[in-house]
Subunit: 185 residues, 2 copies
């Protein structure tokens, strides 16, 4: 069940470096792309960084709306994660083409993707130099959510047999998030 | 055995979001800190982003030298990864205290850490606004290396029984890099 994540613990959704799906919306258009190049940036107010290339349709929607969402797919969405990177939202409705269910964000217009394990709704902190020179976007997290089966009370606890978050490398190859372990206790 | 990694494929060392150890050196001082907040930023020239807090001794060494290295620890270094985050290089020689072996970089002064699975030698691309406001450093990768048992010819191939890269969450808890899988082939 989807539950809110305390904003100051939202970084934990990204701390292990999962590949995310960036969703966006502006003026009646919606899109989604994959982004391995993302990271948490701050605890409170919670911030994130994500690279959104100039050539993408997502870039236009994010710059126009000043908003994006980071959706954390699990392994069941790995095919879709690769597929949405292989076409452009300029000429394809990726949600229809790949049968991706969405639901409404709470604080922004971008849709959230069904079947993910976590979601971060973000507002762009305008940094034109970073955006132009490095395709680098910094967002403040204004709402965060997780599937309580996978993350609750600030902790991941992927139960056995449940698909986990994924980490893209290249050429369709991923690593799934692996064994949890704790040191120094 | 340590082997060079082609710079345009160096992003693959970080693409799955491992926690790294940031090593630095300046004027006879050396230090190391842990950083979950890192990401690849570009293919060619290869770039990376990493967050280095103003309060850290590493920050002073990186700003003074204009260089840093990202070392990718495996699970055997998880204790050390937590430990180096729990003290400051201002008053502790972390290498001696935690018995961390180092060897020389090729292109920069910062030492590289023994026992890691990958290494990226980086020169800071000066961006004073990012550094001051977001503690965000962008580096160009000037040399990259990997243990060929874990990564070669541009691909990770953690063999069975060998410790893998690690992904920090909080409170001493990590995930190890998990199962590899490929989609869309």
């Amino acid at each position: 069940m989807r539950q809110p994540v305390e904003l100051k613990k939202a970084y934990r959704l990204l701390n292990h470096g999962p590949t995310v799906l960036v969703s966006s919306a502006h003026a009646g258009q919606q899109n989604v792309m994959a982004a391995a190049w993302n990271m948490a940036r701050d605890f409170e107010p919670a911030k994130v960084c994500v690279v959104i290339d100039k050539t993408t349709h997502t870039r236009a929607l994010v710059e126009a709306s000043g908003e994006f969402a980071l959706n954390i797919p699990d392994r069941s969405l790995a095919d879709s994660t690769v597929a949405v990177g292989d076409c452009s939202g300029r000429d394809t409705n990726k949600f229809e083409k790949f049968g991706l269910a969405t639901f409404a964000s709470e604080k922004i217009a971008a849709p959230l993707l069904g079947g993910c394990v976590g979601w971060l709704e973000c507002k762009v902190i305008p940094e034109p130099h970073n955006q132009q020179r490095y395709d680098l976007f910094i967002g403040e997290v204004v709402a965060a959510w997780a599937d309580s089966a996978d993350f609750s009370e600030g902790h991941w606890h992927f139960p056995p047999g449940r698909a986990r978050s994924i980490h893209y490398i290249a050429g369709g190859t991923f690593f799934e998030t692996g064994d949890e372990f704790t040191v120094g206790k």
